[in-house]
Symmetry: C2
Subunit: 480 residues, 2 copies
Amino acid sequence: VQTENLTLMTDFYQLTMMQGYYQNNLADKKAVFDLFCRVNPMGGGYMICAGIEQAVRYIENLRVSEQDAEYLRSLGVFDPNFLNELKNIRFTGEIYAIPEGSVMFAAEPVLRVKARLIEAQFVETALLNIINHQSLIATKAARVCYAAGQDAVLEFGLRRAQGPDAGIYGARAAIIGGCNATSNCLAGRMFGAAIKGTHGHSWVMAFDDEYTAFKAYADSFKDSLTLLADTYDTLKSGVPNAIKIFKEKREKDELPEHYGIRLDSGDLAYLSKKARKMLDDAGFENATITASGDLDEYLIQTLKLQGAKIDIWGVGTNLITSLDCPSLGGVYKLSAIETSDGDFRPKLKLSDNPDKITTPGVKKIYRFYDKETGKIKADLISLEDETFREDRDLTIFDPKATWRKMPLKANTYTIRDLLEPVILNGKTVFKPKTLSELREYCRAELDSLWDEYKRLINPHILPVDLSLKLFNLKEKLMNA
Amino acid sequence: VQTENLTLMTDFYQLTMMQGYYQNNLADKKAVFDLFCRVNPMGGGYMICAGIEQAVRYIENLRVSEQDAEYLRSLGVFDPNFLNELKNIRFTGEIYAIPEGSVMFAAEPVLRVKARLIEAQFVETALLNIINHQSLIATKAARVCYAAGQDAVLEFGLRRAQGPDAGIYGARAAIIGGCNATSNCLAGRMFGAAIKGTHGHSWVMAFDDEYTAFKAYADSFKDSLTLLADTYDTLKSGVPNAIKIFKEKREKDELPEHYGIRLDSGDLAYLSKKARKMLDDAGFENATITASGDLDEYLIQTLKLQGAKIDIWGVGTNLITSLDCPSLGGVYKLSAIETSDGDFRPKLKLSDNPDKITTPGVKKIYRFYDKETGKIKADLISLEDETFREDRDLTIFDPKATWRKMPLKANTYTIRDLLEPVILNGKTVFKPKTLSELREYCRAELDSLWDEYKRLINPHILPVDLSLKLFNLKEKLMNA
């Protein structure tokens, strides 16, 4: 939980490089870095941007404390002049970001940082950590919620998260990505997230028998009643005992509006169908069935295909850790550096692996929507000084296969400039949104993608093209 | 970073259950919970215990603030009397733990919590979160270091960790598990972890050419010099430029004791062998080759088998997120509850899945070592009141296959009582160790395991047996 200042949460080599820049009179040169992912994670077709608010707060709080400086001094590798400089460093540059909750794609800069080289280098590691984590979990949550369709999804992963922050900020990201609520009370308090939960196995075990435990629970909570049915035997004991309680409550006209059972083990398709029939036969058609236990988007999709009668999905470990892809491969690469005459010289990192070659220059992202459907047609990365007009014909092309062209007819599309300023001249211009606003925004963003791009496996890939000017610049530098 | 109080970092259902216990006069009943894993992770044969110190600190700080209580009140589901009770809750019970850095196995209680039911329930989620995370990463690190043999392993994962805590406490756990150092400066400051790092690609790109960048770096850092060789072309540019710098420094007698190159992309076996030859041919046999880039225990083992000439392994994403197994499945289960006459009644949770049936009673873990070799022969879980003597013959047996017996001959073995008190009557008796003490202790612990148990894939499984008395108790309750 980030009330401690995270300024020192950086890789050691950032500090050695910073000292080197300082000693080589490069510290004040302005530099531009892009934070981006090289591939969409989980074999999917998109990502959800998350963590922008925490990234901004981190930047605002960037400040080497006396204690930090003392620690660095004790390492014996830093020059006292540099350490003095370090104590005075604040972030004075600018950051543009893709708005939190947006759909985004590989190769697009989520953050574009322009600052003194020494500052831009300082913030690399923490920005990557924050954006990689939250965007990963928001993306996973969007996939899980896509699989669940209209059903509610609850985030239950705190106990298996990779430490406190992973649980807390993971819950935040999961709700941005579409989850209805979390079990994590601290995320509730910190972000206003909706929180949910009823009781666990220990409740049932703390009483002499299951019926007594259910009855005590029902008597304690009048507004909402979900009984965990699998402590002893789901169909022989748990569901019948739950039905007994529901009947007693119905007789006294005390059955709450929201009531039902939760299944946490066994075969969820089989058990939910059997339990549904038992509940319906007893006249409890409104009772909900919540399921939990090793769920993820793939299992939810399969269970639904098999006709599982599950209304609410409690998703824990596999969401909060993003089991099949536990990291987003975000990188932070230099794309331009100030020249002695104050211009920016575009920079490119070569690699034997073509996917690892960076795209040079100070860049923007334009998103093209079909005017009629409102769906995204393509994204285009351009240089900062390029503009495009909706009333002109435009043909864009795939930079990896230049014969793959997409013609855009004048007045059939709309254009959106995706990067927004969040920090200018070191001052925050970012306007935070509430978590429920972010969730609503994200839902609308996902609606702007055709289903084909949201398929869990082997989706259609949205074109992320380069403008002709940027393509030519990259070609020139690659062949230089 | 846990300076904020984590008391509210709990699943909502813990609070509803607590209110239920309070209203049903069960809150003050003493209960015993075991925190344990059902399987060893990553297909391996053991785990490393980590996170005990943070778990103890969390317990010490357990305290519902006015702000927390106000938030809970705002939810409208809690009774004011319960909220008053909650504000006064402190942890007054006892916790026994496996010492941090120990080798441990599935089914063994890492923590045994005995406390008022309301307190024991309160701390479940956070204890699981902390122990699951750090033990996972310590275990992964032990595997990576096992694969690396005598070579140094550096933890480089901060930028891909699942949030700040995952990076910070993950670095701590990685060092307990055997890593030599981390790149994470905050982990250095907080825990005294050794920190390492030199420069990245952006350093090279900030200069007009690679040679100039290397030279500037070498001039800035006199004590240690590792040059990143893959920004443009490893064998045609990076290694020759590094050799040029090393020669210049050697001529001036300024070559530091620790110097070398780092490879971060391309085929590490091929490139390291070629680079080694180039360095050796130039007379730099002492130059080290550090490798990084998507490494894990499996890749390290394969690269070594193929004769890669790598001296130092920088392991990032796949260690800090435990790629192939990003969570430890630790659970927290009620094993006994106080009766009206003050005794403890053992409790058992049944399940259709035999591996999910819990082991009842207040338990201890005894570890049996071979007297001659000092290696672990077996662990035995017994009831708390059972003792064993080293001068007696003893036969233990596998509870899942009772015909599999292990005879232990008197005076050929030593016995260790593995669980140690960390909190008694709400007071901390835990004695923290430094990170380097924990790392040394863990190394000795790993030495007490034969190699067969440490094989990365399909290892031999160490017996974790139940005492006859405990076995009979479990059988009785299962058939009750």
